[in-house]
Amino acid sequence: MAQSATPKWTELAVGTAIIEPGSARQNRTGDWRSQRPIWDHDKCIRCGVCVIFCPEGCIHFGQEKDTYPSADLEYCKGCAICAQECPTTCIQMMEEEE
């Protein structure tokens, strides 16, 4: 059973443990984002460095051959680490509109 994000004090697991493995996926860190990564496919060499550095693990290459990386915006929190680490500086951070 999924743990509620805002449980009553009586509903917490003993010692506030997280008893459901993988439940961090329920935390939509995309809500935190104030800017989003934009890829310039002309400069991207598809090395995968951004995928490795993303702390949310939310950058994926598509299933198709020859696709480019993109961020899952449900989880991308806009930290810009990918843009910082990309060796070809092909990721630009764009301000989110309200």
Partner: protein, 390 residues
């Protein structure tokens, strides 16, 4: 069959940790706790106790090891004192918040500075809010009894909280007293196998100790506060069970000659024994003096204290620690207990026996005289440090 033997309280405590079949002991030696862990490490080295003894480089690490081993389901013991307890400080809160039932002996000693290895209660009073069950022993027998009981209570699934058993450094830790040492069978009959509420298990992964975001922290604190407060019921129940098994009854608050007393003095720890002798002497002269011996410090036994004091109009409180710039810790708790009560005693505050300063019978006589003077209508004196050179 229990055996009557002469043992140093430290050795007695180490021996019963063996009888309780602790799986892990992790500790760093510090005066005056040293004999406890020395003896345990010998027991492990000699194969008398099948346990892992984890030597560490600090008390911070000792308590961190305990955190991990209890989380893995191992019955775990540690012991410390003074600066060592202070160095554990941040982990003490975590162990209790994670509901990990470590049992720890605290050989009470003053905190620096100035550097002092001698006895008072300033170490434990500085850890008042750690969220542990905290209890005090008055003699070697109580120290070993409460250690056995400590495992039973800590591991009780209704509680699942760490327990600190306090006994006075040197006065108890280094004194040989006659004790009744229970046999292994009766200890094991009293203490069921450790069945943790939760344990680290690779086949059923859980996260212990995650971040508590603002949406969670308040609820987590309330849950902790509630389980510690509610542990009072299991505490009384398991102390009764201990009495049934071993014939020695302990209560959260105990009294001595309180029934017809005109004035009462509240003590904690080993000085309670000297206080009883002092009361006996004054009773022979006809002074109606009694004692309240506060055994359980957390959860604080408000109702027991109110009952123990009853209608007695004057209550002296002995603190073995000071809180610079504020009221002494025990007196402040006692006053808070009675503030909302219609019937409340006049509270007279004494600070006693700091940093190993002796508290002879004559000091008790002085405190009794002060309490009797208040009873006769005298003013309540300002908080007094007994034995201070002025």
């Amino acid at each position: 069959m229990e055996k009557r033997i002469g043992l140093e309280a430290s050795i007695a405590v180490a021996e019963v940790v063996g009888l309780c079949d602790a799986d892990v002991i992790s500790a760093y030696p510090i005066t005056p706790q040293t004999h406890i862990v020395e003896h345990l490490s010998e027991m492990v080295a000699d194969g008398e106790l099948q346990a892992a003894f984890v030597p560490v480089e600090s008390e911070h690490s000792a308590m961190s090891v305990c955190c991990g081993t209890v989380a893995a389901g191992a019955r775990t013991f540690t012991a410390t004192s003074s600066q060592g307890l202070a160095l554990m400080h941040e982990i003490l809160f975590i162990v209790s918040a994670l509901r990990l039932p470590v049992v720890m002996a605290v050989a009470n000693r003053s905190l620096s500075g100035p550097i002092s290895i001698w006895n008072d209660h300033s170490d434990v009073m500085a850890e008042r809010d750690i969220g542990w069950v905290q209890i005090f022993a008055e003699n070697a027998q109580e120290a070993l009894d409460l250690t056995i009981w400590g495992f039973r209570l800590a591991e009780d699934q209704r509680v699942s909280l760490p327990v600190a058993v306090n006994f006075d450094g040197f006065i108890l830790t280094h004194t040989i007293e006659p004790v009744l040492m229970p046999d292994r069978e009766s200890v094991q009959a009293f203490l069921p196998a450790f069945e943790p509420l939760m344990r680290l298990d690779v086949d059923q992964p859980i996260t212990m100790g995650p971040v508590g975001i603002p949406d969670i922290y308040t609820e987590a604190k309330k849950a902790h506060q509630e389980v510690l407060t509610q542990s009072y019921g299991p505490i009384v129940e398991t102390l009764d069970a201990f009495a049934k098994s071993f014939g020695r009854q302990y209560l959260p608050v105990e009294t001595y000659c309180a029934d017809d007393a005109e004035v009462l003095l509240l003590t904690m720890g080993a000085l309670g024994e000297t206080a009883m002798t002092a009361v006996d002497q004054r009773r022979e002269k006809g002074d109606k003096i009694g004692l309240v011996r506060l055994r359980l410090w957390r959860p604080f036994p408000f109702d027991d204290l109110i009952r123990a004091v009853g209608k007695v109009p004057v209550l002296g409180v002995m603190d073995r620690a000071i809180s610079p710039g504020g009221p002494s810790p025990v007196a402040s708790e006692v006053k808070a207990t009675f503030y909302q009560q219609e019937q409340r005693p006049k509270v007279v505050e004494f600070t006693v026996g700091l940093g190993g300063r002796d508290t002879p019978l004559s000091d008790f006589d002085g405190m009794f005289d002060t309490l009797l003077a208040v009873h006769r209508g005298g003013e309540i004196p300002k908080p007094t440090i007994i034995g201070l050179r002025e």
